[in-house]
């Protein structure tokens, strides 16, 4: 498998004045292979969206490196860099309501990228846009409508068409379905899966719906307070989680099944702490049911588990 995207100790800190720093993403190293869907899960505030945005250059990296096909991506994107990478990497945003310009028609929104980043002429662009409208399941006559005339699911389809019309290789999907109804979620997921296969896409799928992430992903990474605490095959993570945080997170996931003997659940106390001025040691130590002395002094590193042929890594001193 070839590595398409790689990050080495990617870090994004936000300075918020008075010497306070938000450690949104801290030294995240991750490899995403070609044609793979990597799921990224974690609670709000764990830094998963920031990671996706820093990777694409929508945030300036504080330190660390990101590579696309072994080529180093710039630390601070200039407009010429965006020009260069727009046809390779794209993003689908979370909120289908605020991510579309209300003053542009759906057709203009989808076409904009082609006008900016390619040298195609107007007729070819129009033709491509209308092809993409039918690919994502929208009527061609909708091209002249404005975003407010569409439902949430239809808007998300416009967002998908806008990203994929550039024919990228890598797409960051930042919670693409969390604002949608269950019946529409399935429509969008099936559409993404279909396009993924036909276009050979590589996806970073950010979401907090664990069942859905397991469903779409080949591999899955769990983030907590800016760090990846566990990574491995999606099914391994879901059915045999190793890190105490992953165990608690998966146990909290409501299962859409009724069984007469309701299983006893692990519950986690407290909330995700603030990412401002983090203490040394494992970031989960304060909430961890299995905390040891070592956890408060040293930060555990992500290490592959020997029993799993190095496919499953976990950052915890228990292993």
């Amino acid at each position: 498998m070839t590595v398409l995207i790689e990050t080495k100790k990617l870090t994004k800190h936000f300075s918020i004045g008075r010497n306070n720093t938000v450690h949104a993403v801290d030294e995240v190293s991750l490899r995403i292979h070609q044609k793979e869907t990597m799921g990224l899960v974690g609670e709000s505030g764990s830094g998963k969206s920031t990671f996706g945005k820093a990777l694409l250059g929508l945030h300036r990296k504080t330190s660390g490196e990101a590579f696309y096909k072994k080529k180093l991506l710039p630390n601070n994107y200039k407009s010429s860099d965006f020009q260069k990478y727009a046809t390779s990497m794209q993003m689908i945003f979370q909120d289908p309501y605020s991510s579309l310009n209300p003053r542009m028609t759906a057709g203009e929104i989808v076409a904009e990228g082609l006008y900016l980043h390619t040298k195609l002429n107007k007729n070819t662009i129009n033709q491509k846009v209308s092809e993409w409208f039918s690919l994502v399941g929208l009527e061609k006559s909708y091209m002249s409508r404005y975003p407010h005339e569409f439902s949430g699911g239809q808007r998300q389809r416009i967002g998908i068409a806008r990203a994929l019309i550039m024919e990228p290789e890598f797409v960051v999907c930042d919670e693409p379905i969390s604002a949608l109804d269950v019946s529409v979620q399935a429509q969008i997921i099936n559409l993404l899966e279909k396009l993924k296969t036909s276009l050979n896409l590589t996806l970073l799928f950010i979401a907090h719906d664990l069942s859905m992430v397991r469903y779409v992903s080949d591999r899955m990474a769990v983030m907590y307070l800016g760090k990846i605490v566990e990574i491995g095959n999606a099914n391994d993570i879901f059915f045999s989680p190793k890190h105490p945080y992953t165990q608690l997170l998966i146990s909290s996931n409501p299962e859409p099944e009724v069984s007469l003997n309701k299983k006893s659940k692990l519950t986690i106390n407290g909330e995700i702490p603030s990412a401002i001025n983090i203490k040394p040691g494992c970031r989960f130590a304060d909430r961890c049911p299995k905390v040891m002395k070592d956890c408060r002094e040293n930060t555990p590193k992500l290490k592959p588990l020997k029993t799993t042929n190095d496919k499953h890594s976990v950052a915890c001193y228990l292993y």
Partner: protein, 333 residues
């Protein structure tokens, strides 16, 4: 089925909204009853009328444009649509509490958390401000807010979403209501916080024999805490019954469709998601027949023009679908 006495009964409720585009018939003939000490979940997609139904019970429908054209809601032998007062006291906030979906926007940003909780206590229990504030701190403690005393004198922007939702629950249960209405209480929260809040709600329920009406679109949440389920579609209840029946013996194509649209977590199995194609009916011109006709995979001729009758699948499990008629040509199983 557990035999419990009825806490609230809604019969034949119709709600309309007058808009520039015409009249939206948001709720069309909804009847159900909820039982003491049990959790009744109302599920359905956006626009199916689930929120409007509970807002009518609470008298929160803005009039105009809203209008309750028909129906009764009985609580303690009184039609509370006509009269919200029992023994001269407003039942809202005292006997029926409500939790709203978005904790960030449902609280007053200019009032301290403790004051907002205390306000309910002052209004309904007639306590003095200082006693009410002390009680508010106890309540915030009860809903597991750490450092309740300090938090009570903070403003909403200083608290996390989970803590704001807990404060709202504290307000709703301040007067020990016999019914608690929760409109998507955990939709905006993380799964870990969601699981904490749901288990807290069911603990409170056991203590007070409180009836909970839970609105949600998450079938996982329903499976976890509901005892009874109402499935709504296009302003109507299409299936209702015991939670086990609804999941394991779904008898309406819409309920089945919802289940098939969600991923399951059975080890070693990957089912393909089956989305429900199409979109919900236009409630400006609601369908004459079955509201699910356009999207139904097993629709028959009769469904287009005739409203389905209610069929009893088992005791306490009813569905409105023609496929259960004894001469039906299609069955969806």
């Amino acid at each position: 089925m557990i035999n419990k006495s009825i806490a609230l009964k809604v019969s034949n409720l119709h709600v309309e909204f007058d808009t520039y585009g015409g009249v939206i018939k948001a709720v069309r003939g909804v009847s159900f009853s909820i039982k003491k000490g049990l959790t009744t979940a109302i599920v359905g997609e956006s626009g199916c009328g689930k929120s409007v139904t509970v807002q009518s019970i609470m008298g929160l429908i803005p009039k105009p444009p809203g209008k309750i054209t028909r129906g009764e809601v009985y609580f303690e032998k009184q039609d509370i649509l006509k009269n919200k007062k029992i023994n001269g006291k407003d039942i809202r906030g005292s006997k029926i509490g409500m939790i709203f979906q978005d904790p960030m926007t449902s609280l007053n940003p200019t009032m301290k958390i403790g004051d907002q909780v205390a306000e309910t206590i002052q209004t309904h229990l007639g306590l003095s401000y200082s006693n009410a504030f002390k009680k508010a701190i106890d309540l915030l403690d009860l809903v597991q807010i750490p450092d309740a005393k300090q938090r009570a004198s903070q403003y909403p922007f200083e608290l996390s979403g989970g803590m704001l939702q807990r404060s709202m629950i504290a307000m709703a249960v301040a007067c020990r209501p016999s019914i608690l209405i929760a409109d998507e209480p955990t939709t905006a929260l993380d799964v870990t916080i969601q699981s904490q809040i749901l288990s807290m709600l069911s603990d409170m329920q056991k203590e007070n024999d409180m009836a909970i009406i839970l609105i949600t679109h998450d079938l996982g949440v329903v499976a976890e805490i509901a005892d009874e389920v109402l499935v709504m579609y296009g302003g109507e209840i299409v299936e209702k019954g015991d939670v086990n029946e609804i999941y394991n013996n779904s008898s309406h194509p819409y309920t089945l469709g919802l289940k098939e649209a969600m991923p399951t977590n059975i080890k070693g199995e990957k089912k393909t998601l089956k989305p429900i194609e199409g979109s919900p009916p236009d409630l400006f011109r609601p369908p004459i027949g079955c509201s699910y006709f356009d999207r139904c995979p097993v629709a028959m001729n009769v469904c287009e023009k005739n409203r389905p009758e209610t069929y009893e699948i088992s005791k306490d499990h009813h569905t409105n679908c023609w496929a259960h008629h004894k001469y039906a040509t299609n069955s969806f199983k």
